[in-house]
């Protein structure tokens, strides 16, 4: 893996989000290699030092690039974290796959909206998040997984997330979970 190839991989991830590579694929410098639990492949995720990550924008009070409907998107992601985080004591990635109904219930518990409205917001949020690599979801698929991007959260951010996890009501149907 020479410098040019590394640069190309960085450009690819920068332009198109985390890249899925076959098992045994390249491991460019500065990138996290996130193997799929079933070994069918791996994700390349660029890892920035804390002094260069998106969190710096927050600290400086500068607007970062946000999704449309940032609040609903964040709530959808929170619902998915609640459903897909297998063990809050451990790492977030790879998590487990959660059924759509489960996520819908978790989201409904957050927003307290009418079911049709809530469903519409959930679907839109899942689509946005899946497109930007925060969730793994194929259009119409029954199961949702966390995307490789969540592995970029550092330890301090994970502890914030743990508190959020605990503060959210438990979602029924834990038995329905299947290892991804």
């Amino acid at each position: 893996m020479n410098q040019t190839e590394t640069a190309l991989w960085w450009a690819r991830t920068r332009a198109a989000g985390p890249q899925r590579i076959p098992p045994g694929g390249p491991a460019p410098a500065g990138m996290l290699r996130l193997p799929e639990p079933d070994g069918s492949g791996a994700w390349l995720l660029p890892v920035f030092p804390d002094s260069a990550s998106a969190a710096v924008l927050d600290e400086l009070g500068l607007p970062g690039h946000v999704l449309e409907h940032p609040n609903d998107s964040a709530r959808v992601l929170a619902a998915c974290v609640r459903c897909c985080w297998a063990d809050p004591a451990g790492p977030l990635w790879p998590g487990v796959a959660a059924a759509w109904e489960q996520v819908a219930a978790a989201f409904g518990a957050i927003v307290h909206r009418e079911e049709a409205v809530s469903h519409r917001a959930l679907l839109a949020g899942v689509r946005r998040l899946a497109r930007s690599g925060w969730l793994l979801w194929d259009e119409g698929a029954p199961m949702i997984r966390l995307g490789p991007r969540v592995a970029a959260w550092n330890a301090a951010q994970l502890s914030t997330l743990r508190e959020l996890y605990r503060s959210m009501p438990p979602v029924g149907g834990d038995a329905a979970r299947t290892p991804a």
Binding site: R14, A54, H65, V66, P70, D72, A78, V81, L161, L164
Partner: protein, 405 residues
């Protein structure tokens, strides 16, 4: 003369602009309408013919020699052009006799060609500058007379009026494209106006009698300035917020998009790299979003208002019915008597806590509308410092006669 089939649009517009200047310049020379040159290349032919004559020297050339000298061009075109030049006496017979085959060229047509070339390249601005400089020299010359000044001012007035008129009509009626093609009228206008004002100043200072003519010049200068402002405003408005006057008009883009194939369209983006930063969501943002979605507390009630009264008026405000109570108290105070003094009652009470209750009762009974008793205070005071009460006003508590309604 090859048809400009492969010519690009830019070349065509440039040629059109050059040709327009030539036609404008030749308009004063044309003998009849339709006799104007219609192709910019003919000027090149003219130039080549005149160059050939210059090379030929004083012996002149025959028509055939001219055609040979101008072998770069189509012989027929050269011959035709030569005929036109001959008609206009730009080329004439060396000796004026019937069978003379040799021709000579006048130098004026070549000067004209040179002048036109400059005019086409610079849009006539530099000529106008030189004209203004010359006018300034003329009017500044110590031998210049008032008539020179007047003529100078009149010429300038006409030049600027024509400029302003052309611009104004373009702004008001012309298409924006036409305005853009004629943008040379807008170039370097400030120095022109300043120069003209200098001439105007010199003339007005030397010959104050030319005031009216100078006023006309000032007006035409102001009109030119206004026309420039209007034209610039129109161009900027047409360019939109980008202020990019060099942009192609929207129609060109649309026709490009309609007529191009996929490859051509894709080629437009060949040099672009799409590098949008990925959206970032922090756990903090997640927590805040979840928190903000929580409903706050139970249902909320509005605070009470002053006009909420009717509900509270019910049992609380019914007058207390203490008639019986007070009547019993009065009977107890009076006993068998029909009248008793306050002093007697207080003496019976013995101490002030009891006494003041008795006084309170008597006042309440007195004021009760349904009871036939009365407390009447009179003049006089009983004072006995040693005993209780130490002083008492004279007063009687009595049963009203014919009372007990």
């Amino acid at each position: 003369m090859s048809e400009p089939v492969d010519a690009m649009l830019d070349d065509l517009t440039t040629e059109a602009a050059v040709l327009r200047v030539y036609r404008q310049a030749f308009a004063v020379l044309a003998r009849e309408s339709g006799a104007m040159i219609l192709d910019v290349d003919l000027i090149d032919v003219d130039e080549a013919i005149l160059e050939a004559f210059a090379e030929a020297g004083s012996d002149g050339m025959t028509a055939a020699e001219v055609v040979v000298a101008c072998h770069r061009f189509d012989p027929r075109v050269v011959e035709r052009r030569l005929g036109v030049l001959r008609d206009y006496r730009a080329v004439s017979k060396l000796v004026d006799r019937p069978n003379e085959q040799h021709y000579r060229a006048a130098f004026a047509p070549y000067i004209m060609v040179l002048f036109l070339r400059r005019l086409a390249e610079r849009g006539g601005q530099s000529e106008l500058h030189q004209l203004l400089t010359l006018e300034q020299l003329n009017v500044s010359h110590q031998d210049a007379a008032e008539s020179d000044g007047q003529a100078s001012v009149n010429r300038l007035t006409k030049v600027f009026r024509l400029l302003a008129n052309e611009l104004t009509s373009l702004v008001q009626r012309g298409a924006a494209e036409a305005l853009r093609e004629n943008a040379q009228l807008l170039w370097g206008n400030r120095p022109l106006i300043v120069q003209a004002e200098e001439v105007h100043g010199i003339v007005l200072q030397r010959w104050p009698a030319l005031g009216p003519q100078c006023a006309a010049l000032r007006i035409s200068l102001a009109a030119y300035g206004d026309a420039i402002e209007a034209a610039a405003g129109r161009l900027i408005e047409q360019a939109g917020a980008t202020r990019a006057l060099g942009f192609l008009p929207a129609e060109t883009w649309i026709s490009f998009a309609r007529r191009s194939d996929t490859g051509t369209l894709a080629a437009v983006l060949d040099t672009f790299v799409f590098d949008a930063p990925a959206p970032w969501l922090s756990p903090q943002a997640l927590a805040e979003a979840v928190e903000s979605a929580r409903p706050s507390g139970g249902p909320r009630f509005r605070p009470p208002r002053s006009d909420d009264g009717p509900d509270l008026a019910g049992p609380d405000l019914v007058p207390a019915d203490d008639t019986a109570e007070l009547r019993a108290a009065a009977e107890q105070l009076l006993g068998e008597r029909s009248s008793v003094t306050v002093a007697e009652l207080l003496d019976e009470a013995g101490d002030w806590p009891t006494g003041r209750r008795l006084v309170g009762q008597m006042i309440a009974i007195h004021h009760h509308p349904d009871l036939g008793f009365e407390l009447r205070w009179g003049n006089g005071l009983r004072i006995d410092a040693e005993s209780f009460p130490s002083w008492v006003s004279a007063g009687r508590f009595e049963r009203l006669t014919g009372a007990s309604r």
